[in-house]
Symmetry: D2
Subunit: 382 residues, 4 copies
């Protein structure tokens, strides 16, 4: 058996050959090697699906708890023809995606980055910058505050430069946004940056796949079908992310102040479960800090998203059906001529732009690939 010193040397050698920095220095930019830890859930399965057709990625390993060379078809029958298997071994790879319950990725993070891999966490363990937020929202004392301090929030549309900077140093840790925050932050960012949000109610509707794959009684078809309910009143964990990011947009914007958007200090966020599998629609009811016109809104959003490949501003409110299977976020913003209130509505596929697709987009940013690589699929409808 190897001594500790040997193992550390090996780790160092591996580290030198892996990760975004190593990738960028390789001649000819070969294919990025990628592993997935937590491949048996819905987000993990969607990652596999997307990466299988990514032109610059080689899937080198799938990790599932207590799995030993189990065909991927046992978890994901639709991916049977890939011939992949799932093992309980953290792959050696340029990048590791973790798609795990909260707390678990943080516990494995040190091992992953020590091996030289960039860590892209689809879960929540590296999303909140303030470690003090974890006990409050997740009842978790964060086990890796140092890694957390170096982590970036992986929403490319708002943090593309920080992500690229993070790729230049080691370890590279990315906390990928939650599904509700992705839709909501993209829908509100232009308003927040302009200091326009005086009061805010975020009323969101999600398909059931967002609740994960654990067999729970209230996720049975017979309970969900032909029903809608609100849940997580005042306590949904994604609230913290929305507050963090919308406040940051205020500071970044022309008003340059945390207090520019008083309405985002404590976001009134109410999620609902509706009888569909995929999709999130977020309806943001905004009272503005000053009167705005429709043409001002139009200009604000056109400017914000003109060059974004995945955020599409529309005149009419979007349907989740028209983003399904794609990495698109469709956004519509409208001012009520009668009351002056603003509605900003966003739609995403929670498993793509809200999870796996966004993770792939982040990978592309980190490794200098075309940002749309592997994500060019049009939505599938009806």
């Amino acid at each position: 058996m190897a001594s500790d010193a040997t193992l550390q040397n090996e780790a160092r050698t591996t580290a030198a050959a892996l990760g975004p920095a190593a990738y960028r220095s390789r001649a000819g930019k070969p294919t990025v090697s990628v592993g997935i830890v937590g491949a048996t859930g819905y987000a993990g399965g969607e990652l596999v699906r997307l990466l299988l057709s990514h032109p610059n990625v080689k899937l080198v390993g799938l990790y599932g708890r207590n799995r030993d060379h189990v065909p991927v078809a046992e978890s994901h029958p639709h991916l049977r023809e890939s011939g992949l298997v799932i093992d309980q071994a953290i792959p050696k790879a340029d990048a590791i995606f973790t798609a795990l319950p909260h707390g678990v990725a943080a516990g494995m993070a040190r091992e992953i980055v020590s091996a030289g891999s960039a860590l892209l966490d689809v879960g929540p363990d590296f999303r909140l910058h303030d470690p003090a937020d974890y006990p409050i929202w997740y009842r978790l004392d964060h086990p890796e505050p140092e890694l957390l301090a170096g982590a970036v929030y992986g929403l490319p549309e708002l943090h593309r430069d920080e992500m690229r900077a993070a790729a230049e140093r080691a370890p590279t840790v990315v906390g990928l946004p939650g599904c509700y925050p992705t839709a909501t932050i993209l829908t509100l960012a232009p308003l927040a940056r302009a200091g326009l949000i005086a009061d805010l109610a975020v009323d969101a509707k999600s398909g059931v796949s967002g609740a994960g794959r654990e067999p729970k009684a209230d996720l049975l078809f017979s309970e969900v079908n032909e029903s809608v309910k609100a849940y997580g009143l005042f306590t949904h964990r994604h609230t913290a992310e929305m507050e963090q990011e919308l406040q940051a947009q205020g500071e970044r914007g022309p008003m340059g102040s945390k207090t520019a958007n008083p309405g985002v200090a404590k976001v009134d966020f109410l999620p609902h479960l509706i009888p569909m599998t995929r999709g999130i629609l977020t309806s943001c009811h905004v009272r503005t800090t000053r009167p705005v016109s429709q043409s001002e809104l139009d200009a604000l959003y056109a400017e914000a998203y003109r060059d974004e490949p995945f955020v599409k501003v529309m005149a009419d409110p979007p349907s989740t059906k028209h983003v399904l299977g794609s990495n698109l976020c469709r956004v519509c913003v409208r001012v009520d001529p009668r009351s002056g209130r603003v509605l900003a509505i966003g739609a995403i596929d929670n498993l793509v732009k809200g999870a796996a697709g966004q993770a792939v987009q982040a990978l592309n940013v980190l490794f200098g690939l075309p940002e749309t690589a592997g994500l060019e699929q049009y939505p599938i409808a009806p």
Copy 2:
């Protein structure tokens, strides 16, 4: 053929023998005779279903445009065993329910009340007190402003006494509430009466049956299934009802003023279409005029609905599945300890408490029947 004078005499005689006043004077309180005009739509079908098992009602006629003794099964295969038929003739009855597109019931109203029948309009033609609201919200010059002036808003929980008073005079005209307003007004009335609504966003989700039965491309299964969208931004006609009734609650309440609830002057109402057939969930985001505690809210709602047979206050947010097929409205009100905002959430079956069930409840009030007669069904789940 009878002369005009004779016909008028007959009408007068009929009028004397019909309607709630006549019914109340009859010895032994015999069965109320009821007709339905617009029996082929979803609300009409649900009225038939409910009235078929009403112990004090005799269904004497179903009216459908261009129908001549057509079996009800052609429109409502589930009611095939009733053996009823649909004709194009306004029935002579103590009470006539109209379930028609806007403007149509108003056009038939004079004929109906002249025959001595009480008119209970499931549609919108007698909901708004101010005739000037009809051109604005319905692009309709109201053809019967006099009848409108005498009409009552048929939400028994708020207007029971006015409804009883209307039953004593002739003509008796009841404008039954819309589906969204029913859920929303019942959910907010205690807050409005207490003058607590400083700002308000009403975010509602409806099953597709609320959109009616006309074959439209965007109501096809393939378009609705696995999708959610907002619609009717800033222009949904039910907005006017909500504003009218919530303002009236403010005037009625201890604050006694239209301005007690500044947030209801122009309600921010956003409806959504979700992939289910029945049910409305209304999520009301309230910023209060002063800080409130959960116990104050609990007391307020317990007091408001203690004796109501159909409004049930719950600690947890309701699912529409748990009111389906019943006349119940389930309500939950909660204050966010972090932000002080209040969420009030209500659930109804849009075709029962939101349409046909409420109509039957109103009939019961008008004719002095037990208010729950014909409406005792428990919800059907799963």
Copy 3:
């Protein structure tokens, strides 16, 4: 504490005062007292719902494993207003419904009938007459072969007289039909009785509530929605019931022989799970023993079901939507003029006519109540 002898005496006294025979001898036919063992599942909940509005029934107890005075709303939020509670105690009652996994009711049966209650098992423990079928289909050695020998198959349309006879003796044990067999046997009985079934493929589609309420991964909304699959190939337990009953119809019919219907000796039964909550549609593909005409079929079915309150013969194929919530079985039989093959199609609500409604119907038969008591509801649509 009472001695064993005392308890036995009490039991005997109770037995004398309970059950269908005791009920029939009571002056004035008072209300039947009923208990439900297994009240927390879907069939149990539906029994509660139906019995709450049964005019001749008093619900005296609900049994749930490891429950101690737990409000019914914890299992069935839609029944919250009933105020009922669930306990772990077998109620003393004229009749006990058991709605339990296979083998469990058989294990409790002796205790139930010893207390004088009639036992109506919604589960499979008393459906198959031959004890040797239980090890084959259920991997179960039947623990109560004596009770099984005296049990009747509780499909009133075929065994009404036997059920009445069983009510006259003690113990009274009824094995209520499964959901697929109810639909299929009623759909095929006239053909079987006429000796017409030469070959038979039964292709059935069920809503998910038929699979019960245990949280299983493949019953999650995200797995069932937007999908259909066959399951239980060649091994579905309901096959045995269909074979038993269809053969018996052959012996009962004019041909009077087990071999009259060679196609039912080994029924080719294939069930499918489809994305809906309630409903079973059974499509029976029949090759007949001799050519038949449509008018012969029409006469056969009209004759068979003319006086049945719950079986309705229709010219067009039925939709499950048009039986939902009711105890109806809609049947359509048609001969293909091109090929001479016969299609017989039946639709039921699996939780009503396929479980709880049929159980109530059987109770009515046993206790001499009007057979439709508590079951007059029209289907609810849309």
Copy 4:
């Protein structure tokens, strides 16, 4: 205006430069130019979606009735970012897909092939070899019997060589299979070729998108949701295709005779509409001409589909969810050890392998492209 002679010359010139033969002779095999006539329906939209990511195809025109440069987003909001428009002009292209109601493509066929384009009809106008079948099944006198005589049935798995031969001559006309026939024929072909089908019941279940996009009352969400029904008893037009192709397999097989499979002479086909958008499951109940073993069946199917990229033989019955969005057909065949009957079950996405995907596969065959080009997508689940 050009004289007729000029137009004919132009047509001839165009014809020389277009179509599969012209394509094959071009140096370097440039991109195939493709147009779609009938681009506004579901099959048309799916064709656009697939072709947009086809590496060897250039979409040169979309035709829609009464459209003049209308953005594709009006019909297909999910394809908004393609920037395509729809016109009422038949495109000049190597290949034209027609996705039209029956009779319409036949009426336009002459114009299309005269322009030199290969015609691939997604509709039924060129599927049935015998013109006499059109009046029977489609109430249509075929207007182009000559073109029909030269048409091939475009199921590549069974007719790949004929399709290639058709591409070498002009005009090239392909009648693409219907959705039910695609699933059913692929599921049964190995049995038919082996002369094993003595009796056959095909019981199929389809998602609603198969019924098209015309707004019809019985396709409304509220009518379809939570319901299942059979339709088209004995008269579904796809029956003719199944009989034609299964009989042809018998003749092609080792038995070499039309009568090898007596059960396919008049297929007992029963389609059902179930509450989902996409997917077809076909359950084929087969009585065999002689006893077969599971291992014989396994060998038969493995041999038949070993090299097929899109037909996958599985040990367990497939779910439609696990083919959604892909061109796969999953097949499972099993013999009942108790009765000797055989079940063969197949699953496809009706809009992909059942329509647009198959059309693209056929295009690939005709133009000598890799058969999987543009069709490599894995299914999307959940």
